[in-house]
């Protein structure tokens, strides 16, 4: 997993991550029986790692207007996340990961609405 600090969505305090987005991703990982290992870096670094296969998911204050659309699979936008302030928050997955993307979107639909 990769993330960048973003206002109320993702809070990085030392080695500890918290915030609604982090909770969501942890919840999803629990659903698909996966462990989460977080990498905190700039968005560009995260996307590069995603492309290289070092990350499975990038989440944070990324909105539906993200410029990474050619480099990553992008989920639908979700406004219902706490702290989103009306922004349409998306998450990034590696290109071509259709089943993973669909599972993630199904989970987000259930948790934070469409």
């Amino acid at each position: 997993m990769g993330t960048s600090p973003d206002g109320d969505l993702v809070d990085v305090d030392g080695g500890d991550l918290s915030g609604p987005v982090v909770d969501l991703v942890d919840g999803f990982a629990a659903r698909v029986h996966a462990d989460t290992r977080w990498t905190v870096a700039s968005e560009e670094t995260l996307v590069t790692m995603l492309e290289a296969g070092d990350l499975d998911l990038v989440a944070g204050g990324i909105t539906a207007d993200t410029p990474w659309i050619d480099k990553a699979g992008v989920t639908r936008g979700y406004r219902g996340i706490d702290g989103a302030d009306g922004r349409e928050i998306v998450m990034l997955v590696p290109l071509g990961e259709n089943a993973f993307l669909s599972a993630l979107e199904r989970f987000l639909d259930e948790e934070v609405g469409g």
């Binding site: 699979g73 639908r76 590696p94 290109l95 071509g96 259709n98 089943a99 993307l101 669909s102 199904r106």
Partner: protein, 325 residues
């Protein structure tokens, strides 16, 4: 000179008038139908290159209808001193424009598909929420493509291909031909999307390439057919496959006149009607104007497509002219 008194008369016999009205109705139906399918496909097009290619092909398929309807406005005009041959060529120009557009966009799409394949672009198709249900967008794509194919393959494709020979209209024929071949696009895009669904990422790009090759083929065929007609190739049948049999009919008719020894024609396709120059070698050195006029009228009466006929007495038949043998 009753009928040939006016060059390029533009009135049509009842059968052709009915066919024209039918063709216009089908073209308008096609435009409405295709506009709807373009909108619907736009909603599901997503990240699939195959879907995008099929979508653009749908937009391109509108060009022949607009070309046909626009050209129709012109070909109906009577010849004038400024345009002594009438404006029949408008149909050929429409045909050329449609062909070149298909060719250019087809090449561009093929290039994009190859580029995507070479760079290993993995298309990502997620889900959508429809009536509170989360479903995979791929299923929607497949459904939409399977539904929109009904129009071209079962309705307007066959209808237009019945009208094209009646009207001797190559633009309409090409249009019908493309509509009938549309099922290939549909099958390819469905295969591409389902391929992505089961993890075969390159099937999408391969399907896109297949579809764009089809567009290039259509563009090439249409461009070539339009150009050779505009270059005054001898008139051929509506599908461009054979020399038009009317040339031989004209020669046979002229040879059956008692005063004619030999005959040959130069006949070019003006788009919907033919321009006919008939050369006759008379038995004697004098020819009566009444005979010439009657012969020109007789030729014009052979078929509705020949409204622009001149009969020229000559000493030797030109070598290039068609002797119907």
């Amino acid at each position: 000179m009753r009928e040939t008194g006016q060059f390029g008369r533009t009135t049509l016999p009842p059968e052709q008038q009915r066919a024209i009205r039918g063709a216009v109705r089908w073209e308008i139906f096609t435009i409405v139908y295709t506009s709807i399918t373009i909108t619907v496909i736009a909603l599901v097009v997503g990240e699939s290159q195959a879907m995008r290619t099929a979508w653009i092909e749908d937009m391109l398929s509108l060009i022949p209808q607009f070309a046909f309807l626009t050209a129709l406005l012109f070909v109906r005009r009577r010849p004038t001193r400024k345009h002594p041959y009438g404006l029949h060529r408008a149909m050929g120009i429409g045909h050329l424009v449609a062909g070149v557009a298909l060719l250019a966009v087809g090449l561009n799409l093929a290039f994009e598909a190859v580029l995507g394949l070479l760079s290993g672009e993995h298309p990502t198709i997620g889900t959508v929420q429809l009536f509170g249900q989360t479903i995979w967008l791929g299923w929607l794509m497949v459904t939409v493509m399977a539904v929109v194919i009904i129009g071209p393959v079962f309705f307007y494709g066959p209808a237009k291909s019945k009208l094209a020979p009646v009207l001797h209209n190559k633009l309409l024929y090409a249009d019908a031909d493309m509509a009938k071949a549309d099922w290939q696009t549909t099958v390819a895009s469905i295969v591409g999307v389902l391929g992505v669904g089961v993890g075969v990422w390159w099937l999408d790009g391969a399907a896109a390439l297949f579809i764009s090759l089809g567009i290039i083929g259509d563009g090439f065929r249409n461009t070539r057919a339009a150009i050779v007609d505009l270059m005054d190739q001898r008139a051929r049948t509506y599908d461009s496959k054979h020399p038009h049999p009317l040339a031989a009919d004209i020669v046979r008719y002229l040879r059956s006149r008692p005063w004619v020894a030999q005959a040959a024609v130069r006949m070019r396709d003006q788009g919907q009607v033919f321009h006919v120059e008939a050369f006759v070698l008379p038995h004697r050195r004098t020819v009566s104007i009444a005979d010439l006029t009657a012969a020109a009228e007789g030729v014009a009466d052979l078929d509705w497509k020949m409204q622009d006929v001149v009969v020229i007495p000559v000493e030797h038949l030109p070598e290039e002219a068609d002797t119907g043998r």
